[in-house]
C-alpha cells in the first residue's frame, strides 16, 4: 500500500475542507493534506454557478466558483497539498490513519497527527419523505439536476414541478427557467418557506413562479418518463387532504426536501453522532468525541450560508493544527449546551472551559418561525447573553455568542422567547 505522512489530514476539499486547510497552515501545521474524491477542489460549490456567496465574508456577491476559487488560490500560496480522485474508505481515529482509493496510486494509507472531517452533506430523497406513485425517469434531487445542468451541460426536463422550498430547490427553479424550462410550481409541505427569503424573492417572485405553501405531492404518475404529479393541500398535521388533490402535468420533478450530513465514515470510525443534526457531536474547537478528529461544515450540521461554513471550518483547522503540534488548550471543565424553547439544536454541543475566558458563538435553528423575539442564553439561573431578532425561521440559522467565564453549573441553555 502506498504511504503518505502529514500533520493534518482533511477529508473533503469543498469549502469546509479548504477553509480548514488554510487555517491549519496559518496556525503553523507543516504538512496539511486534503483528500478529495472529485477530480477538482471546490466540492458542491463547483455546480453553484449562481451569485450570492461571500456577502458576509467578503462583503461582495460572488458565484460559487469565485468563492471557492479565492480559497484554492490561498491554499496554493500557503502550500496546502491535496490528493484528488481519492475516495476515503476508512478513517481510523485510534491510529490516526486514513485509507483511500486512488486510480494512480492504488490504495493509499495516510498517517496523520490529526484529522478533519469535511465531507459535506447529501440530499434527502423522494423515498425519505415517502411520496407514493410510480418510479419513472425524470425524478431528480435538486442537487443532481444542478450537477447535470451546470457541470455536465445536459438539460433534465422541460416542464418542472419542484417539491420543497429549500434553497437549492428555489435556485433550481430559476436555473431551469433560465434554461428555457417551464417551472409550473414549487410545492412546500410546511406553511412557511424552508429556505432563505432572499431566494424566494430572487428565484421565484422575480420569475412569477407560484409557491404553494402547505401543499404536497401525493402521487407521481407516468411509467417511462414522468407525466404528472398530484398535488394536494395538507391539514394542520401535514396530512394531505386527498379530496382536494389536483393533477399537474409535468415531465420532471425536482426534490429539494432537506439535506443530511454525510457521516458514513464518521459512524464507521465510532465517532459520536448527534441524533438531531445527524452530524458529529463537537465542542467549540469543532473537536469530535475522538480527540484527534475534528469536523466542520455541513458534515456537522447543515448550514444555509457558506460564509458560516468557512468561519467554523477555520476553527476546526486551527485546533486540528494545534492538536497536531501538541499545543491543544487544556480544559479545566466542560459545559453542556442545552436546547430551550423553540431551539431545535445547538452547535457546538458542549463547551470546553479553560482558565482563560473565551467568546464562543453558538449556532442553532428554531423549530418554528416567529417575530419580535429574543435569543437568550441562561446559565446558573442568570441570563449570560441575549440578542433581539425581528424575525426567526427554521430556514435561517441563528447565532448567539457567550463568554465562557460567565458559564456556571456546567451548562448553558439557549431559548428563543417572545419579547416583552
Amino acid at each position: 500500500m502506498y504511504n503518505l505522512k502529514c500533520d493534518v489530514a482533511i477529508v473533503g476539499g469543498g469549502p469546509a475542507g479548504l477553509a480548514a486547510a488554510i487555517s491549519a497552515k496559518r496556525q503553523g501545521a507543516e504538512k496539511v493534506l486534503i483528500i478529495e474524491r472529485d477530480n477538482s477542489l471546490g466540492g458542491i460549490l463547483q455546480q453553484c454557478i449562481h451569485p450570492g456567496f461571500g456577502l458576509t465574508r467578503f462583503k461582495e456577491e460572488l458565484t460559487g466558483p469565485e468563492y471557492y476559487g479565492r480559497f484554492v488560490d490561498e491554499a496554493n500560496e500557503l502550500g496546502v497539498e491535496y490528493l484528488l480522485n481519492s475516495m476515503v474508505l476508512e478513517v481510523n481515529d485510534k491510529e490516526n490513519t486514513i485509507i483511500c482509493a486512488n486510480s494512480e496510486l492504488g490504495l493509499t494509507q495516510i498517517n496523520a497527527k490529526s484529522i478533519v472531517l469535511a465531507m459535506g452533506c447529501r440530499e434527502r430523497t423522494r423515498a425519505n419523505i415517502v411520496v407514493p406513485g410510480t418510479r419513472p425517469a425524470g425524478l431528480y434531487t435538486a442537487g443532481s439536476a444542478q450537477r447535470l445542468i451546470n457541470r455536465q451541460n445536459v438539460m433534465v426536463g422541460k416542464k418542472v414541478v419542484i417539491l420543497g422550498s429549500g434553497d437549492i430547490g428555489m435556485i433550481m427553479a430559476r436555473r431551469m427557467t433560465l434554461e428555457g424550462a417551464k417551472v409550473v410550481m414549487v410545492v412546500e409541505l410546511m406553511d412557511c418557506l424552508a429556505g432563505l427569503t432572499r431566494n424566494r424573492v430572487q428565484c421565484l417572485d422575480d420569475f412569477g413562479i407560484p409557491l404553494k405553501l402547505a401543499h404536497t405531492i401525493t402521487k407521481i404518475e407516468g411509467h417511462q418518463r414522468v407525466t404528472g404529479v398530484r398535488v394536494a393541500p395538507v391539514d394542520q398535521n401535514k396530512k394531505p387532504i386527498l379530496e382536494k388533490e389536483q393533477l399537474v402535468e409535468c415531465d420532471t420533478v425536482l426534490f429539494s426536501v432537506g439535506l443530511i450530513p454525510e457521516n458514513e465514515l464518521s459512524k464507521k470510525a465510532g465517532i459520536k453522532i448527534n441524533p438531531v443534526t445527524n452530524g458529529p457531536q463537537v465542542n467549540q474547537y469543532m473537536q469530535t468525541s475522538s480527540p484527534s478528529v475534528f469536523a466542520c461544515g455541513n458534515v456537522v450540521h447543515v448550514n444555509d450560508l457558506v460564509d458560516n461554513v468557512s468561519k467554523e471550518s477555520e476553527q476546526a483547522g486551527k485546533y486540528a493544527a494545534l492538536y497536531a503540534m501538541g499545543k491543544f488548550p487544556q480544559a479545566t471543565g466542560m459545559a453542556k449546551c442545552i436546547t430551550g424553547e423553540n431551539v431545535r439544536y445547538l452547535c457546538p454541543h458542549e463547551i470546553q472551559l479553560c482558565d482563560e475566558s473565551q467568546k464562543v458563538t453558538l449556532y442553532f435553528r428554531v423549530l418554528r418561525p416567529d417575530q419580535n423575539v429574543k435569543l437568550v442564553a441562561v446559565s446558573g439561573g442568570e441570563i449570560i447573553a441575549s440578542k433581539k431578532e425581528f424575525r426567526v425561521s427554521p430556514g435561517e440559522m441563528c447565532s448567539l455568542a457567550v463568554e465562557t467565564s460567565k458559564i456556571a453549573n456546567g451548562e448553558v441553555t439557549v431559548s428563543v422567547v417572545k419579547e416583552g
Binding site: 500500500m1 474524491r37 480522485n85 475516495m87 474508505l89 485509507i99 482509493a101 486512488n102 486510480s103 494512480e104 496510486l105 492504488g106 490504495l107 447529501r122 440530499e123 430523497t125 423522494r126 423515498a127 425519505n128 415517502v130 407514493p132 406513485g133 410510480t134 418510479r135 419513472p136 425517469a137 425524470g138 431528480y140 434531487t141 442537487g143 443532481s144 450537477r147 447535470l148 445542468i149 457541470r151 455536465q152 451541460n153 445536459v154 438539460m155 433534465v156 426536463g157 422541460k158 434554461e179 428555457g180 401525493t218 402521487k219 407521481i220 404518475e221 411509467h223 417511462q224 418518463r225 394531505p240 386527498l242 415531465d251 454525510e262 458514513e264 459512524k267
Partner: protein, 480 residues
C-alpha cells in the same frame, strides 16, 4: 427469416432458467423479451426469498416445484456466482388464536415434504430474534427459507445460457404466433419473424395475451400488486431472519427480512388490479405495511426507508400454477400463474419443462462442451485490502469510486456494461452492481452513471434511459 428450435417468450427468472437448462442440449434457443433488459418485470420486484414450499397447497405443481427447487440453490448459487444466504424464517404467534394455528401449519409443511419445521417457545424465538414483539407466544422456525439477489439470479441464468449459445432478442415484442397443421410454425416479433418448432410461453403478466395468439387463452392473468419498503443498512432495528406473520384465509401477510446486501425489506401488500403496468405505490398500501409489520417487530423504523416499490404478481384466474402442453398444438408450452414463488421455482421449472419436452418425444442430445459456471462482477467493497490493491493495479478504474453509498467503482460499472447481455440503462447498471441502490438513491452517482453509459455505449446522453424506451434521463443539451 431467423430459424431456431425453441423460442422462449419472456426473459424473467423462469424464462432464463428454461433457456439455461435447454442450453445443456444441442438445440438452438432464442429468448425474446419486450423489455430492454433481462429480469425487467415481475422478476425484479418481489421479496427476493427462496421459499421452501412449506405453505404451498400439498400435491399441487407449485408445491412440487418449490419443494424440489429449494435444495438446488446452494449449488446453483456457487455455480452461477449469485449472492444467496440460508437465513431461515420465523413464524411467530402473537395471539392465542394464532398459536392454535401452528400445528395446522406444521402439518401442511409435512404434507409438502418440508420436514425440518420446528416448534419454538416465545423465549427461544426472542433469543433468536431479539427485535421480535415481546408478546410472542411461540412459533415455528423454517430453517431453509433463504434470501437471494433476484436481479443477479436472472442475469446469471441469462449470461450462462448466452455463454452456452442461447440468443437473446431484447426490446423485442411478440406480435403474433403462426401455426400450421396443428404445430408451431413461427413467432412474429417487432424485430422480424422467427421460424421455430417450439414456443415456450413464459411471459408472466402477459402470458394470457401470448396464449390468445394460439387460441389457448382459457384463463386470464390477474395482476396482484405488492408494495414494499427497503430500509437503510444502518437502520436502528434489524432482523436476522425472515419474520413472517401467521397467514390468514385472505393473505399470507406482510413480512420483514434482511436482503442479501444487508438492507431490511418490509412488505408486501396484495391487491388485485386490472392494469398490468401500474406499479405505483400508495398511501394506503404503505400505511398498511407499517401497521401490520409493527405487530411482528414493534420497533421497525420506517423513517429509515431508502425506497419504496411495488411489483405485480402474475396470478391467474382460475388460480394456480399451470404447465400445459397440447395434443392439438405441437411445440407449444404454456406456463401461467407463475406468481410469488416464481423466483424460487425457476430452477426446477427449467428442468421440468425440458423433461416434459423430452417425454413428449423430442430427442435432445447433450452438449459436450456445456459451461456450467458463470463468474459474476467482482465487488470491490467486499474484497480484502490486498485484493483491492491488486484490482486497482490491474485496472485503475477500480480506484475510482462512483457510487459512494455502496462503494461501487467505475471498474465494476464497466464490467456491467461490457459483459455479455450487459447493462444499457441506468437501472441496468443499478441491478448489476448496485450503483444507486444505496441511501442517496443515485443522487450522487446517477449523473456519473449517465456520463459513463453515454461514453461507453457511444451515444448522446439524451439517448440514455432509466429502463425501457421512452424513459430518457435527460432531454438534451443546455443552451449554448
Amino acid at each position: 427469416m431467423q430459424k431456431t428450435d425453441v423460442v422462449v417468450i419472456g426473459a424473467g427468472a423462469v424464462g432464463c432458467a428454461i433457456a439455461r437448462e435447454l442450453s445443456k442440449y444441442c438445440v438452438d434457443v432464442i429468448v425474446v423479451d419486450k423489455n430492454e433488459d433481462v429480469g425487467g418485470d415481475a422478476s425484479k420486484s418481489n421479496s427476493a426469498i427462496i421459499h421452501t414450499g412449506y405453505d404451498a397447497t400439498p400435491g399441487s405443481l407449485e408445491s412440487q416445484l418449490v419443494v424440489a427447487a429449494n435444495p438446488m440453490y446452494e449449488q446453483l448459487a456457487k455455480d452461477l456466482d449469485v449472492p444467496f444466504k440460508k437465513v431461515g424464517a420465523i413464524l411467530p404467534a402473537m395471539t392465542d388464536e394464532q398459536f392454535e394455528k401452528l400445528p395446522e401449519i406444521k402439518e401442511k409443511a409435512f404434507k409438502n415434504h418440508v420436514y425440518d419445521v420446528e416448534f419454538k417457545t416465545g423465549k427461544e424465538l426472542l433469543e433468536m430474534e431479539p427485535n421480535l414483539n415481546p408478546q410472542v407466544k411461540g412459533g415455528l422456525v423454517i430453517p431453509r427459507e433463504s434470501i437471494i439477489d433476484p436481479f443477479i439470479l436472472v442475469q446469471a441464468y441469462a449470461e450462462n445460457a448466452y455463454a452456452n449459445g442461447v440468443k437473446f432478442m431484447l426490446n423485442t415484442k411478440v406480435t403474433d404466433i403462426k401455426t400450421e397443421n396443428g404445430a408451431i410454425k413461427s413467432v412474429v416479433t417487432t424485430n422480424g419473424e422467427i421460424q421455430t418448432r417450439y414456443v415456450i410461453n413464459s411471459a408472466a403478466l402477459y402470458c394470457d395475451e401470448i396464449a390468445a395468439m394460439v387460441g389457448k387463452a382459457d384463463y386470464k392473468v390477474v395482476a396482484r400488486k405488492g408494495e414494499f419498503y427497503i430500509l437503510d443498512k444502518n437502520t436502528s432495528c434489524k432482523v436476522d431472519h425472515i419474520v413472517l406473520p401467521i397467514p390468514t384465509k385472505v393473505t399470507k401477510g406482510k413480512l420483514m427480512c434482511p436482503t442479501i446486501h444487508g438492507n431490511m425489506l418490509v412488505g408486501p401488500t396484495a391487491e388485485e388490479q386490472e392494469s398490468k403496468i401500474d406499479k405505483s405505490t400508495t398511501y394506503n398500501g404503505l400505511e398498511s405495511i407499517a401497521t401490520d409489520v409493527r405487530n411482528l417487530v414493534p420497533n421497525v423504523n420506517l423513517k429509515d426507508t431508502i425506497t419504496q416499490y411495488s411489483g405485480l404478481r402474475p396470478n391467474r384466474n382460475p388460480e394456480g400454477l399451470h404447465f400445459d402442453m397440447y395434443d392439438d398444438l405441437k411445440g407449444y408450452v404454456n406456463l401461467s400463474g407463475v406468481r410469488s414463488t416464481g423466483l424460487t421455482l425457476s430452477v426446477a421449472m427449467g428442468k421440468y419443462v425440458v423433461q416434459q419436452i423430452i417425454m413428449h418425444g423430442e430427442k435432445l442430445k447433450l452438449k459436450e462442451n456445456f459451461i456450467p459456471t458463470r463468474k459474476g462482477i467482482v465487488k470491490f467493497s467486499e474484497q480484502s485490502r490486498e485484493e483491492q490493491e491488486r484490482l486497482i493495479k490491474e485496472n485503475p478504474l477500480y480506484g475510482n469510486v462512483v457510487c459512494r453509498c455502496e462503494t461501487i467503482t467505475e471498474g465494476e460499472i464497466m464490467d456491467a456494461i461490457h459483459r455479455p447481455l450487459g447493462a444499457k440503462s441506468v437501472d441496468g447498471v443499478k441491478r448489476r452492481v448496485r450503483a444507486g441502490m444505496g441511501r442517496c438513491q443515485g443522487g450522487f452517482c446517477g449523473p456519473k452513471v449517465i456520463e459513463i453509459l453515454s461514453r461507453e455505449l457511444k451515444v448522446d446522453p439524451k439517448e440514455i434511459t432509466k429502463h425501457n424506451q421512452g424513459s430518457n434521463m435527460v432531454v438534451g443539451k443546455t443552451r449554448d
